[in-house]
């Protein structure tokens, strides 16, 4: 699915990722953990193609194609989805329009006709139920005036509508209370399938109680310092990051 090989990324001339390598297979759920400033969000943004994230070395192959050669929208068309840590507010563009435009962009790429308006709304309503969202949300501006929790639920709703092959969720758990966390985790779990891969970027082990990962990686100073299974997250919860930082030094 995704093969990252020796990736180097700089932001504003500052090196953030320093030779990161990671392979994500079809159907697998990977958790990326690590202390503040270790490069977790940078990895997520670099994979999604955010301007200003300069690739200074390495390769990324996504479904057999050179990911880094693609524009952000092409990455989305190929089935990549980034769940933002801080979803952007866009007053004046309403949610339902964005959802429809996004779904149609993906369909166009696959050579499919535009989605039928009625079927689309039926599907959105169904997914909104999964995310415990109210109907009125559809006509509101994208993330406009949403609470932190609503924004995160909206990210997962978009993901449910787009059914990506690879979802990268950047701190989707931050700012959520325990009930909202369960709703979000449940949303993510409904998408788990042997065909789909998920990369969870998170600070805390708590999310992993609800979305159980196949692999856990610890990022230190822009590279993976240690990998393991879900027990590694529990160990981090107990011991903190210092011992890995020391080991990596």
């Amino acid at each position: 699915m995704l093969k990252i090989d020796n990736l180097h990324v700089s932001v504003d001339g500052k090196k953030i990722l320093n030779g990161l390598s990671l392979e994500v297979n079809k159907g697998a759920v990977h958790a990326i953990m690590g202390p503040n400033g270790s490069g977790k969000s940078t990895l997520a943004y670099a994979l999604a193609g955010r301007p200003g994230y300069e690739i200074t070395g390495g390769k990324v192959i996504f479904e057999g194609k050179d990911l880094l050669a693609m524009a952000p929208e092409e990455r989305a068309h190929e089935g990549m989805f980034l769940g933002f840590q801080y979803p952007v507010e866009i007053p004046g563009v309403n949610n339902v329009y964005l959802l429809k435009a996004a779904v149609n962009a993906a369909r166009k790429h696959r050579g499919l006709p535009e989605v039928d308006a009625f079927e689309f709304l039926t599907l959105v309503r169904e997914k909104m139920k999964v995310m415990h969202m109210e109907e009125s949300f559809l006509s509101r501006g994208v993330n406009e005036g949403f609470s932190g929790g609503e924004k995160k639920r909206n990210e997962i709703l978009q993901m449910l509508m787009l059914e990506p092959r690879l979802a990268i969720l950047d701190e989707t758990d931050s700012g959520l209370d325990i009930d909202a966390l369960k709703v979000v985790a449940n949303g993510v779990n409904t998408l788990r399938s042997p065909e789909r891969s998920i990369v969870l970027v998170t600070h805390y082990q708590r999310l992993l109680d609800y979305i159980v990962p196949d692999f856990v990686h610890v990022l230190v100073r822009g590279r993976i310092a240690r990998s393991g299974d879900k027990t590694l997250a529990l160990e981090l919860e107990r011991r903190g990051y210092d011992w890995i930082i020391e080991e990596a030094a």
């Binding site: 955010r50 929208e73 933002f84 952007v88 007053p91 004046g92 329009y97 787009l162």
Partner: protein, 486 residues
């Protein structure tokens, strides 16, 4: 010293003076307007408040209006060839009054008599009288018991015309208000040449939130003649009025239009005023609006500037009474080589009044879009609450945007919050849309759209809002994709 331009204007005025209707503007007032223009000259780009306006096209304009009732060439004489279908679609519930090249066109109007509302054309004479006989007092639609329609229309027009000589706006100009007067010089040009106009009087306590639509159509080419839309609005105590005013071109669109609008809002009265400028692609459009608000009066002005090659709107709002409340929202869209310049001065004269100025402008192509928002708080206007949110968006490497807030505060107890920005599309928003698979061109259009929606969404007349959105979408050349949003 008279500039060459002012001299030419005076000469054109002298030649046309005999045929200009005195019931619209008295001969004395026309002469005095010409004299002031001769002394002051028209604004030039050296004037601080005029540096973004395009004044050069004035050199080639023929200022005299088309001869009234002469059925030759474009202009009022050509009116019969204009059809209702040529005009923007009507808005349900609004009585329409159409003026072609500044003269009332009864055949294109659908007046509705309403209790407490007197709409009269400023001009008496053949056209207005014909209007009366054709549509049963069309030009003067009013309720029984209020101002007299049809047969007495001429007298009523005369009476109100002379009463207007001491109109509230001019009489409220005090010594020391020289700058305001200087910025209103294009209204003097309208005084000098106006051929007709609409006078709307709303009597005390009348409630008409869905009421009147004025459509000003320009057909005559600027090298032949000019067009002078004129509106005088008088709202008495505790009344409420919803007014739509739109400016369009039919034909080549190479018009010179110079509008003058005076708004006088009485105690506790409310006016919702929508103004849409969608002149032709080659039109030169000047506009002066002056509003005076009495105690507890409320004025919501929504301006949308889409059309024209070169457009300048000068808006003066005087908060003359305590707790008066004014909200001025302007959306301007410039593309190709358009110039959209708006100047808004809100002046607090009385205590505890409130004002909000909102501007959203987009400049694309090689256009220049400017907004100069001024707040003046005079001595004695304590407890003033004034807000300003001015934002310009640069949507092309060769476009220009100028957003300028100005504050002049002569009293201590004032709350003024103002923000002004001019910049490019928000990178974070753009990336968010791209990351959802939306292509770059669509994402940019969508964000431009969203930027203007901020102001457009405040238009509370659904059909008008739809029409404006369609017009904006067309201007943004995104009709196909953005139609879905509408």
């Amino acid at each position: 010293m008279a500039s060459a331009l002012a001299t030419r204007i005076a000469a054109e005025h002298a030649a046309a003076a005999a045929s200009l209707p005195t019931e619209v503007v008295s001969r004395e007032r026309r002469r005095s307007a010409i004299e002031t223009l001769a002394t002051e000259g028209l604004p030039t780009s050296r004037d601080e408040n005029w540096k973004y306006a395009n004044l050069r096209p004035l050199e080639k304009v023929r200022f005299a209006p088309p001869a009234i009732g002469v059925p030759a060439g474009p202009g009022p004489g050509a009116q019969p060839s204009l059809k209702v279908a040529d005009l923007p679609a009507g808005i349900e519930g609004y009585a329409r009054y159409t003026f072609v090249d500044g003269v009332f066109a009864p055949a294109l109007s659908t007046p509705v008599p309403r209790a407490g509302i007197a709409v009269t054309t400023l001009r008496a004479g053949p056209v207005a009288e014909a209007a009366g006989s054709r549509s049963g007092g069309a030009a003067a639609a009013s309720a029984p018991g209020s101002r007299a329609p049809s047969s007495a229309g001429t007298d009523a027009a005369h009476a109100s015309a002379s009463a207007r000589a001491g109109s509230p706006v001019l009489s409220s100009i005090r010594p020391g208000d020289a700058q305001r007067l200087k910025d209103a010089r294009f209204a003097l040009l309208n005084d000098a040449f106006a051929t007709d106009g609409a006078s709307i009087r709303v009597s005390a306590g009348t409630d008409c939130p869905t009421c009147i639509e004025l459509v000003f159509v320009a057909t005559v080419e600027s090298q032949t003649a000019s067009s002078y839309p004129r509106v005088e609005l008088h709202i008495e105590q505790d009344a409420r009025l919803g007014l739509i005013e739109r400016h369009v071109s039919i034909g080549s669109g190479a018009n010179f239009v110079n509008a003058s609008v005076k708004v006088d809002i009485g105690r506790g009265a409310t006016v919702n005023h929508y103004r849409v400028q969608e002149s032709g692609a080659k039109a030169v459009w000047f506009d002066t609006l002056s509003a005076v608000l009495a105690q507890d009066a409320s004025y919501k002005l929504h301006g949308v500037n889409v059309g024209g090659l070169s457009s300048r709107s000068t808006i003066n709002v005087l908060l003359a009474g305590e707790r008066a409340d004014a909200a001025v929202s302007v959306a301007s869209l410039g593309d190709r080589q358009q110039i959209q310049d708006a100047f808004v001065r809100v002046e607090h004269l009385a205590p505890r009044a409130k004002s909000v100025q909102t501007f959203r402008g987009i400049s694309a192509g090689r256009a220049r879009v400017a907004f100069n928002g001024m707040i003046v708080v005079r001595e004695g206007a304590q407890g003033t609450d004034s807000q300003q949110s001015l934002r310009g968006l640069l949507a092309g490497p060769e476009a220009e945007i100028d957003v300028r807030p100005q504050l002049q505060i002569d009293t201590d107890d004032v709350r003024c919050a103002h923000g002004a920005t001019a910049g490019k599309l928000d990178e974070d928003m753009l990336f968010y849309l791209l990351s959802r698979g939306i292509d770059a061109a669509t994402a940019q259009r969508l964000l431009k759209w969203a930027f203007l929606e901020d102001v457009v969404a405040r238009i509370e007349v659904p059909e008008l809002r739809r029409q404006i959105e369609r017009s904006l979408a067309g201007q943004m050349q995104e009709a196909a994709e953005l139609q879905e949003l509408l």
